[in-house]
């Protein structure tokens, strides 16, 4: 925490939890959304946005107390912040560090923009997208989302 302290620490150290570092500048709130953290959930969260970073110009950081993210949650982050690193903190120490990997299939993460798609009805299913180089491919109606993925997050 020394470097941060010298710049004027934005966020207090946490004892246990997860630090998501190197988030694309400005995407922190979308990262929270994509892992399902909203105003109504109980986690204690700190967010720093547009922090200066040697590597990437400006970055965002998210710290979540008392929660260790699962692999699936982590990989969703890759959609909007492919350079993010996940640090699991136990007893104030970084005890696990991993990158994010773009998942092959996204289940229940984004909503299909096609109003005629069966996944936008009351059927008992989750949306299902295949991640392709050109975008997200709806496995129900074959639509492809090529841009602005965050606006389609469920």
């Amino acid at each position: 925490m020394k470097r941060d302290a010298r710049k004027g620490l934005l966020i207090n150290p946490i004892q246990n939890g997860t630090v998501i570092d190197h988030i694309t500048g400005g995407e922190a709130l979308n990262v929270l959304k994509i892992i399902g953290i909203t105003g109504t959930t109980t986690e204690s969260i700190s967010v720093a946005t547009n922090v200066e970073s040697g590597k990437m110009g400006r970055k965002d950081i998210v710290k979540i107390e008392n929660r260790e993210l699962h692999k699936e949650e982590v990989n969703r982050i890759a959609l909007i912040a492919p350079n993010a690193s996940i640090n699991i903190i136990r007893n104030f120490e970084v005890c696990e560090k991993k990158g994010v990997e773009i998942p092959c299939i996204l289940i229940g993460v984004v909503r299909c923009p096609n109003p005629g798609c069966i996944s936008n009805t009351n059927e008992p299913i989750y949306s299902k997208f295949e991640v392709l180089p050109k975008g997200l491919h709806c496995l129900y109606c074959d639509w492809i989302i090529t841009k602005d993925i965050t606006s389609h997050l469920i």
Binding site: C104, G116, E123
Partner: protein, 316 residues
């Protein structure tokens, strides 16, 4: 990546038993398509009475009006000794009572040996295949897929010529006309060259041209059908819908440039065939019907052997 080559089998769906669904032409490999076409031609040329689906029951779930597709599946089933059951109208169906398609499919799975589904929502057949314990054949999901149409298009072409390396003109509304999309995709498996002729704004979507060109398919866009008509082996005509135009005057103005007439066919290749998924409006002059090139009624008759082959593939 995650989708396996076999029809309708999605590997990532945990615990799902591989089943013979036919949902999209894209789920079928070239070998599987060839196999279905071979089977259809075998069926068509056989003179003996076919009882291969005797005792089998086909559920026809048509949540949207369709006369031809429904009748031809029913006829195909009857020609193999099988029985069909089905909904008569959406109003009379459980959908009107608010039941989900998923529930309807689970229930009907207990009544029949296969389901043929027509539904207004795109992706509905894919959903049905996830909930069915019997094979599902997609007979049209909204603006989505309609694989039996593509198969019968290919079958009709192959009656006249080998499918490999042919030159095919796609004429009309190529943007909204999904039959043209699926056919273009399927023809790319056979190394066809595609010539597209469509009004401004109704061109083949860029996503499709990109995908097919990447696979090595030649796609050439033309403004005027007369530029290319003499070199074509197949001319596939699609309907230009009036609803796409602000008023009927502008519709007629545009549509007249995409009309197939005997004059247009004055110096074409001797073996040219003209196809249309029907029903046609003004796209093909009725005088063309008498010419040897006109194969669209033959094409619609081919719906029977092709659908017989499909039913046999999933239930046989």
């Amino acid at each position: 990546m995650c989708r396996n080559g076999t029809a309708g089998l999605l590997l990532f769906r945990g615990g799902c038993i591989p089943m013979n669904h036919i949902i999209s032409i894209r789920d079928l490999s070239r070998t599987e398509i060839d196999h279905l076409i071979d089977e259809a031609s075998c069926i068509q040329s056989s003179a003996s009475i076919d009882q291969s689906l005797k005792g089998k029951i086909l559920a026809l779930l048509f949540f949207e009006p369709s006369t031809r597709t429904r009748m031809s599946f029913e006829a195909a089933m009857a020609r193999m000794g099988g029985t069909s059951i089905g909904l008569d109208s959406v109003e009379a169906s459980s959908m009107a009572k608010g039941e989900t398609l998923a529930d309807t499919i689970r229930v009907v799975s207990g009544y029949a040996d296969a389901i043929v589904l027509r539904h207004p929502k795109e992706g509905s057949a894919r959903l049905a295949s996830e909930f069915a314990s019997i094979p599902v054949i997609n007979a049209g999901d909204g603006a989505g897929q309609h694989p039996s149409q593509t198969l019968l298009d290919l079958y009709t072409i192959r009656q006249s010529m080998p499918l490999d390396g042919i030159s095919v003109g796609l004429l009309g509304d190529l943007r909204y006309g999904r039959t043209a999309h699926s056919l273009a995709y399927a023809l790319s498996l056979y190394g066809a060259t595609l010539h597209t002729i469509s009004p401004k704004g109704l061109e083949l979507p860029g996503s499709i041209t990109d995908e097919l060109s990447k696979k090595g398919t030649g796609i050439v866009e033309h403004r005027d059908i007369s530029e290319i008509i003499e070199t074509l082996d197949v001319l596939y005509v699609t309907r230009i819908q009036r609803e796409r135009f602000p008023d009927s005057a502008s519709y007629f103005k545009v549509a007249s440039g995409y009309r197939v007439t005997p004059e247009l066919l004055g110096s074409v290749r001797k073996n040219l065939i003209v196809l249309h998924p029907l029903p046609r409006l003004d796209e093909i002059d009725p005088r063309v019907d008498q010419l040897p090139y006109a194969q669209y009624f033959e094409q619609s008759r081919n719906g029977i052997p092709v659908r017989m082959a499909m039913l046999r593939k999933v239930m046989g």
